[in-house]
Amino acid sequence: MSTSEREITFGEAVREAISEEMRRDETVFFMGEDVAVAGGVFKVTAGLYEEFGSKRIRDTPISEAGIMGVGVGAALTGMRPVVEIMFGDFMTIAMDQVVNQAAKLCYMTGGQARVPLTIRTTIGAGRSSAAQHSQSLHAWMAHIPGVKVLIPSTPADLKGMLKSAIRDDNPVIIYEDKMMYSLKGMVPEGDDHLVPIGKADIKREGTDVTIVATSSMVQLALSAADTLEQEGISVEVVDPRTLSPLDTDTILQSVRKTSRAIVIDEGYRSYGVTGEIASLIADEAFDYLDAPVKRLGAMDVPVPFSPSLEPSTIPNEAAIISAVHSMYRDVA
């Protein structure tokens, strides 16, 4: 069975996933600030309102906590809401409903409650949007048992994972890097393209160093891998795609093969994704390592506004290459 492919953008992946699932299941609906008539601040959901109307594509007041609560209530009572929180920074306003309610209802009620709620929100610096519109706070949510946390890096993964999220009976949060909405990639034709939640993907095979990278960091890692290949270093790039539940097997298998690991994520370096994955590798693959695990993350400062400062706060390709080089120096 051959599947043909076509090229779409990261943003179009969102639109296709939501519209296909809404056609498939009438209990799915979508709400958020400016998502309907205006088509979203990033224009990602343009056209949905025209197809599905104001009942199922809903503009909300600027009330993040309220929207999230309404999403939880609708999910508990037979609907499958998709809620957009315009910037991931605004998730902080909706924290009670996600952390204390959605994430815990199934457990606290002894398995009675189902919260099939999908939350879409963004991460990513790089637009000079300053400290309240640029953070990558996905680690906060991955800290909470009871929610699934997705962080796709390609249009195909985003589309397939968002569709899986909408069909999942648990609360699922999907983080989209706002700098990637125009990124292009191939996706399989048809409306049954699903990517499983909790399954990592090897984006490039290699033998010398494993780079575990998330979201926009995957593109940087692939690009660094091209450069390093010319130096004779073969890099394997592992994209976890889901942070919770984490596919530990795929990560560990890769590290056991290459014996070197670098973990890159755009969240703050302290107390975050890179620390978690590095400790996993240290715990489970220590005997295979030829060098200490390296970590690259956002600098521990509020994201600055000035274009002269902002780029230095997030990992870049040069930093990745330098980290790989240092691993060889360390053991030389």
Binding site: G69, G71, G73, G78, M79, D96, G110, G146
Partner: protein, 339 residues
């Protein structure tokens, strides 16, 4: 300021009950069940059989029973940390509730939620809640769901005077109003948010229902110690919501006889007066309904005490059931994190 609010005139204790005997008796049974259940909770707590803490509903029974009697099984409620009364009024079984109090597997939540989190999805009980104001959005979402699925279900959001000062109320009430959702914001004003008089921390002193005007929804204040008045008021607003006329705000004026929770043993020594508590106890909803039923010839005093007896033994049976019930197996700890 109060012009926009309908104040339901308190009914005289001498006035005739216009509802059928069995209907009144059932409301009486429910109120007594709540009272006895809460007394038993305090007892097992003192005996060390119940871990954690508990927030007794004693005194407020007419509010829960009056409201829930106006609802169907498939209507929704969200409840609060002081939720036992709401759950019993909506049809919750006292044996499974008591088992949950003790953390037993036979409890509604398999012992994993406890007093503040009991839910029964089959009865539309979307859960008590440990976060003050935590159910506002949830009830509104249930109302949205009912509207989108084109059922005529109604969602009642129980909350206290304390939660009226949470931002979640503003957001939920606004959305319920702009979308004309079948949601009843049911504020049980028992005068104290935890250990603080609501007058000390609330810009509006008399009726919290005044807030409703800001959300363009009707507001009614009713005597929360009169189960018949609460029932009649809620019934009217439920029919209104079912008919698609949008949300409303009902404030029941009520009082908790006990402290904020089991550890707040003697509030009369700190934040409220003995005179006030004594005054509210003279309006006791259970005594009042019993008196009216007897006066109206609906029941003899003997029949009333037979009801009391049968409920007493049902609650004792529930305690015994809960005591005998096993704790969850160790493996239960990792079950139900995800569906």
């Amino acid at each position: 300021m109060s012009d926009d609010i309908e104040i339901v005139q308190p009914s005289s204790d001498d006035s005739e009950l216009t509802h059928p005997r069995e209907f009144c008796a059932e409301m009486y049974r429910k109120m007594v069940t709540i009272r006895r259940f809460e007394e038993a909770v305090l007892e097992i707590y003192q005996q060390g059989l119940m871990p954690g803490l508990a927030h007794p509903y004693i005194g407020q029974e007419a509010s829960a029973v009056g409201v829930c009697t106006a609802l169907r099984d498939d209507d929704y409620i969200t409840s609060t940390h002081r939720g036992h009364g709401h759950l019993i009024a909506k049809g919750g079984q006292v044996d499974r509730m008591m088992a949950e109090m003790m953390g037993k597997e036979a409890g509604y939540n398999r012992g994993k939620g406890g007093t503040m989190h009991i839910a029964d999805m089959s009865l539309g009980i979307l859960g008590a809640n440990g976060i003050v104001g935590g159910g506002m959005g949830m009830a509104t979402g249930a109302g949205l769901s009912a509207q989108m699925r084109e059922t005529d279900q109604v969602a009642v959001c129980f909350f206290g005077d304390g939660a009226a000062n949470q931002g979640s109320f503003l957001e939920a009430a606004n959305m319920a109003s702009i979308w004309s959702l079948p949601v009843i914001f049911l504020c049980e004003n028992n005068l104290y948010g935890e250990y603080t008089s609501h007058r000390d921390v609330t810009a509006i002193k008399e009726h919290i229902a005044e807030r409703a005007a800001g959300y363009n929804m009707p507001a009614i204040v009713v005597d929360g110690m009169d189960v018949v008045a609460v029932y009649e008021t809620t019934s009217r607003m439920v029919e209104n919501a079912r008919a698609g006329n949008g949300p409303c705000f009902i404030e029941t004026k009520t009082y908790r006889y006990r402290g904020h929770h089991v550890g707040d043993g003697n509030p009369e020594k700190t934040y409220r007066t003995q005179e006030e508590t004594d005054l509210w106890k003279t309006r006791d909803p259970i005594t009042r309904l019993a008196r009216r039923m007897v006066k109206g010839g609906m029941a003899t005093e003997e029949e009333v005490s037979e009801i009391d007896q049968s409920i007493q033994s049902a609650v004792e049976h529930a305690v015994e059931f809960a005591k005998q019930a096993p704790f969850p197996e160790k493996g239960e700890v990792t079950e139900h994190v995800y569906v």
